[in-house]
Amino acid sequence: MNMKPSNKFFSQSLNAHSWLGLMVGALMYLVCLSGTLAVYFEEFERWEQPSAQEYVNYDIDKIDAAFNNLLSNGTTEVTPHMYVTLPTEGNPRVALVTENEGWFLNQDGNIASSTAHPWTSLLTDLHLYLHLPEAWGMILVSAIGAILMTLVISGFASHRTLFKDAFKFRVRGSKQLEQTDIHNRLSVWGAPFHLMIGLTGAFFGFAMVVVYLYAAVYKNNDIEHVTQSVFGEEPSLSQDVGEINLAKAFKQMPQLAPNTTPILAIVHDTGTPGQFIEIFSQHPNRLIYSENYVFDANGNFLHTKSFSDGEIGKQIIYSMYRLHFGHYGGWWTKVIYFLLGLAITIVSVSGINIWLAKRKYKDLINDLWAGFVWGTPIALIVPAITRFSFNFVSNYWFWFCLILSCAYACKLQNEGQARIHLTRIFAAMTLVLIIVYTAKFGYHALTGLPLVINGLLLTTALIGLFTTSMKFKSPVLAEAL
């Protein structure tokens, strides 16, 4: 029996793949590019505030004193949830945070500057919501995650020479062939990662939709009951409202959870008789975000949330965050996520490029696409410049720059020229950003993580200038770059 699918199967699958890709290609590009950069959101947050003190060893008594002082001194509004973020490898800082604002805490226990990272928020909001209202934006982005899975499935189904082309990588020559090779190599070998990103991405937006639907259908609209079955029950306490004994709770952690690393503490229902402490502690070699240890306000241990040893469904759900963002296993996991994220971004672009190349003619769509693709990095860099120059960042600013880039590309009516011009503008803007940043932060710009990020930005700008300005002796190299 011949098990090989017919040509009709491949062509119909390719048709489905193409149309689906075309419908979401532009949004997919924005989500993937911002997601690739957002792998390093902790590093970008540190880069935005380089003068905040960084340390790994902290004195919990000093944090406890600062936290209780914050609650009692009346200078800030005490919100139902109050947070203490603890140093991690990605973000070695301590901060006290309310639902509205936050402050870094120095190692000596003194409160330092406010936490503020508006540019990183612009980046992460683009990835999470596409700058739309949060609920709808997240559903749309999650739908794009599910569509990414459809694209992976239909992509495999439409690839009639999957094994024959396994390592083919032809550049120059036919544009369609070049873009097809780039598209297929990156998507086929990266498929497990792309499927995981699609699935976990779909989870974030639809988890609450499923909870609401499930509660409506099976639990008589008792959303709290359903939420608690996943995220654990909250204790019902009736205590005298006094100080929060964070130190006592933390000092029990080595016995309660040896070899784990506390990363966060939340005080729930702050200032009420029911207030309690929840300490999030990361377990080694586990993908769950943390196991959560619940204490009363006096620091007496009550129970865990059973994320590490509870039902399998609970463990899987609580592993989604780290799996999606690559925040596990150390710096090289982030590098792999960045590279594979960049691969999906290129796949999104090359997919549309294939369609454009197949058309055999050029028009406004070519120009718009060139402006959109090469304008997005500019639209991300410009708000960073205004953030450090005038402390001004707005999501509208991003979209304004993007529209301007598209308009410029349309005016040029030459996608090749548009790519070159926009890359040069990006390089120039990046250099401006580095100058502005260095002028603002001086010494801090040239040490530690800011130096690494500024160095990478400078390298990117120079590569951009190099590839668009140099006259290559070899025409082959010139065309390839």
């Binding site: 699958s13 048709n15 489905a16 149309w19 689906l20 999650s142 569509i147 899975m149 459809t150 239909s154 094994f163 396994a166 390592f167 083919k168 990588f169 032809r170 550049v171 120059r172 020559g173 036919s174 190599r185 990156l186 990266g190 497990p192 990662f193 699935l199 779909a202 989870f203 639809f206 988890a207 939709v209 499923v210 639907l213 499930y214 259908v217 359903v226 996943v230 070699n285 586990r286 039902e311 399998i312 469904g313 609970k314 899987i316 759900i317 592993s319 799996l323 596990y328 296993g329 792999i336 996520y337 590279l339 594979l340 055999k360 003619y361 050029k362 028009d363 406004l364 009516q413 025409p475």
Partner: protein, 180 residues
Amino acid sequence: MNILITLLPASFGFSFLYLNWKSADKDTRMSNWVGWTLALSSLALFILFEGVEFGLAYGFFGLAIIPLVLALININIRDKQRKITERRTFRFQPIKNRWSNNVIIFIVAIPIALIFSLLSLLVVSNVTGYSEVNKLTLIVLGFPLLWSVIAYLYLYSQQKKMIGSALFLGAIILSGITFT
């Protein structure tokens, strides 16, 4: 050190697959088995050294970099002039164009496939006998997968109207069953 030991079999395995792919020899079945076995042994080593969760993640995602590097090594820069593509003035033709049909199909089909898969899993989860949290996990992770398969099948099908109607009716029936 562990990481190097773990990466070594996969590097050999993918290199083996690559060299095998490049060779003129047509009978490559045995050699491919060896290549894939070596690559999978790296996955096993990752699991051994890093535990099941980290091991699977490293194995499935990290190892993908190796064949991509091999494809990059195999780069074939062709010294051939590209054709000049004709430039046309853009004209938007919303009704006659196949574009608009596909946009409408996309706007209608994708949400219907979403509702259908969501409700299907809501019903299926109820007959599994799982605990509540496991049911929710099944729905929340299963429905995007089902959604993506249905969306593909729908777009794949030439008889779009028939399958679309079937899905639509199915979604209505399922929602009826679910809400009663």
